[in-house]
């Protein structure tokens, strides 16, 4: 009986392999990605990362750049923020409380958990400081703790905003501060029921009047019911003073990182698209966010490509769906976005960095790296360029998984690695590690013994 069971499973896998194993990678970068036929197979393609320690290894960076780990042993770092004085804040935590509703949820939950960290959720903000500007962040302390799976971070004029998985909160912040002076003030509650996609991405308008919060869908493709999707899969615009909010753009399945383009003030997002339509569907994307636009989820993807798994369907919404700007590739799981700066060096000065956490729904993994999307005239132009790689070997050994990326205007890219619980800092070699002069008189955060 057991053997038969295995034979049947093996048979199912063979069917699956025959279905999509030899599928060549289509061109899925840029404004017009190739979208193959939908085809999931009997069992979705799966290849889960096999976590391993970094040891003496490091991520790989382009010639002329170097990478160092500036903090380790964190409590699941997700997004980072560089404060005006150069201090780095790290949001640490694990959220989500979506119950397993089906036998599939239980099985998939166990399988996917193998590819992620097992450390305890930090639920805090850690502050790093490099007081003497030598590139070593010798100061480390907890800025605030007791938070509920903090993720999105934004800073405007002495206000530090934190998007917990259930609420948008604000800490007053004075330059050089190393610890929150008071409990956070709640700006508004955020949709948190079920929280299948729990991360709340955050960006602030340049004038600080509005905050933009990315709220992911409550399912892959409505399998938790349509009612669970109220106020989900959208970006909210929140009035920073009153907490009043409205949908700014909708139909974005999981907007996991938001950033305001420096010159134009335009809001951009990276969005994770739906799974289980095949290894080459649907491309995750980078897009400027058009106010009032509907981006398709759940009814369609990349414009008018209808997803047959959604009932009831809505042909009017399908017609209204706009195409995103730039495909990053299917299942790459883009979780980080930051616009570059001339301090990053010539080839990477004009464009955006994107952290790609990496796929599960593909037999040949995608993502597991940080890419650079070159821009020209304020728009993406050309294929993405690998900027940081080496997170995953060909044999599946995975040492790290990038999440948030943040450009430090002093000339560094800060990368949160939520598998190794490490913060990486990539700098151009030809510059001083940090342009910041030591600031005497500013109190040091307590150095935590390692």
């Amino acid at each position: 009986m057991k053997r038969q069971h295995h034979l049947l499973i093996a048979g199912a896998y063979l069917t699956l392999l025959a279905g999509c194993g030899s599928d060549p990678d289509p061109v899925q970068h840029g404004p017009n990605p190739q979208l193959p036929e939908q085809g999931r197979g009997l069992v979705p393609s799966m290849e889960i990362a096999e976590p391993a320690p970094w040891g003496n290894e490091k991520p790989r960076v382009p010639d002329g750049y170097e990478v160092t780990a500036i903090a380790t042993d964190l409590g699941i770092p997700r997004q980072t923020l560089v404060l005006p004085n150069g201090d780095i804040l790290i949001a640490e935590g694990r959220g989500g409380k979506a119950p397993a509703l089906r036998p599939k949820d239980m099985i998939a939950g166990v399988i996917k958990a193998k590819g992620t960290t097992s450390v305890e959720s930090g639920n805090r903000l850690t502050l790093l400081r490099d007081a003497d500007g030598d590139g070593v962040y010798e100061g480390r302390g907890v800025f605030a703790d007791g938070l509920n799976a903090p993720y999105g971070l934004a800073f405007v004029d002495n206000h530090l905003y934190v998007a917990n998985q259930d609420a948008l909160v604000m800490f007053p912040y004075e330059d050089g501060q190393t610890r929150a002076s008071a409990p956070p003030v709640k700006i508004t509650d955020l949709p948190s029921e079920i929280n299948h996609h729990w991360t709340k991405a955050l960006a602030a308008s340049p004038d600080g009047q509005f905050l933009y919060v990315g709220i992911g869908s409550n399912s892959n493709i409505t399998e938790r019911g349509m009612t669970a999707e109220a106020n989900r899969a959208m970006i909210w615009e929140v009035d920073a003073k009153t907490g009043a909010h409205r949908p700014y753009a909708t139909g974005l399945r999981n907007p996991t990182a938001l950033a305001v383009q420096p010159d134009t003030g335009t809001l951009w997002a990276v969005v994770n698209e739906r799974d289980e339509l095949g290894p080459n569907l649907v491309p995750d994307y980078l897009t400027s966010v058009r106010e009032g636009a509907f981006y398709g989820w759940p009814y369609s993807y990349w414009g008018q490509n209808v997803d047959p798994r959604v009932r009831p369907q809505d042909p009017k919404k399908v017609v209204a769906a706009v195409k995103p700007d730039y495909a990053l590739g299917s299942h790459v799981a883009a979780l980080g976005l930051s616009f570059s700066d001339s301090a990053m060096g010539t080839p990477f000065a004009n464009g955006a960095f994107v952290g790609e956490h990496g796929s599960w729904n593909r037999s040949e993994p995608s993502g597991y790296k940080v890419v650079f999307v070159p821009f020209r005239g304020g728009r993406p132009s050309g294929d993405p360029i690998d900027f940081v790689t080496g997170f995953r070997d060909a044999d599946g050994t995975t040492r790290g998984r990038p999440v948030g990326v943040t450009v430090d205007p002093r000339g560094a890219l800060i990368i949160a690695d939520d598998l190794a619980n490490t913060i990486w800092r990539v700098t151009p070699r030809n510059r001083a590690p940090s342009a910041r002069a030591p600031s005497p008189g500013v109190p040091q955060p307590e150095a935590k013994p390692e």
């Binding site: 009997l42 493709i221 399998e223 009831p312």
Partner: protein
């Protein structure tokens, strides 16, 4: 009807085997009815019910299949070959149906509903055959 004076025919089919076989019918039927309800209401909870009912159905099908296999391998005058083949087919299609039901939302349709009809009929046939084989043996 078995005669109480004939010990050999007192037990037409082992009670536990009977439970294993017969339990498959309401479970597969329940999955079918849930699929029909999802089909007409689009309410996802019916699809969840169908998935779980199929898990239960597969559990009983597997145990009934194992039991029948053991019976088949033992020296008997009449072997439950038809029952075994029906249960094997039921197990294979039940597993296929479980995998189809692991698709998200309406992705289970229409294959899931069609398979639920087939496995319900197969479950009735396998149970019918299982009871008949045993009865025939008892009457011999």
């Amino acid at each position: 009807m078995a005669n109480a004076n004939e010990p050999s025919s007192a037990r037409a089919i082992h009670p536990l085997h009977a439970v294993l076989l017969a339990s498959t019918i309401p479970l597969y039927l329940g999955a079918l009815l849930s699929d029909l309800a999802y089909n007409s209401t689009y309410h996802i909870q019916w699809s969840n019910f169908a998935s779980w009912l199929l898990v239960g159905a597969m559990l009983f099908t597997g145990m009934a299949l194992a039991w029948t296999l053991v019976t088949l391998l033992r020296p008997h005058a009449r072997r439950p070959l038809v029952t075994f083949v029906l249960l094997l087919a039921l197990f294979a299609l039940g597993l296929l149906n479980s995998l189809v039901h692991a698709r998200d939302a309406w992705g289970t349709m229409p294959e899931g509903l069609i398979l639920s009809v087939i496995v319900t009929i197969l479950a009735v046939a396998a149970t019918w055959s299982g009871f008949s084989t045993a009865t025939r043996r008892a009457n011999t």
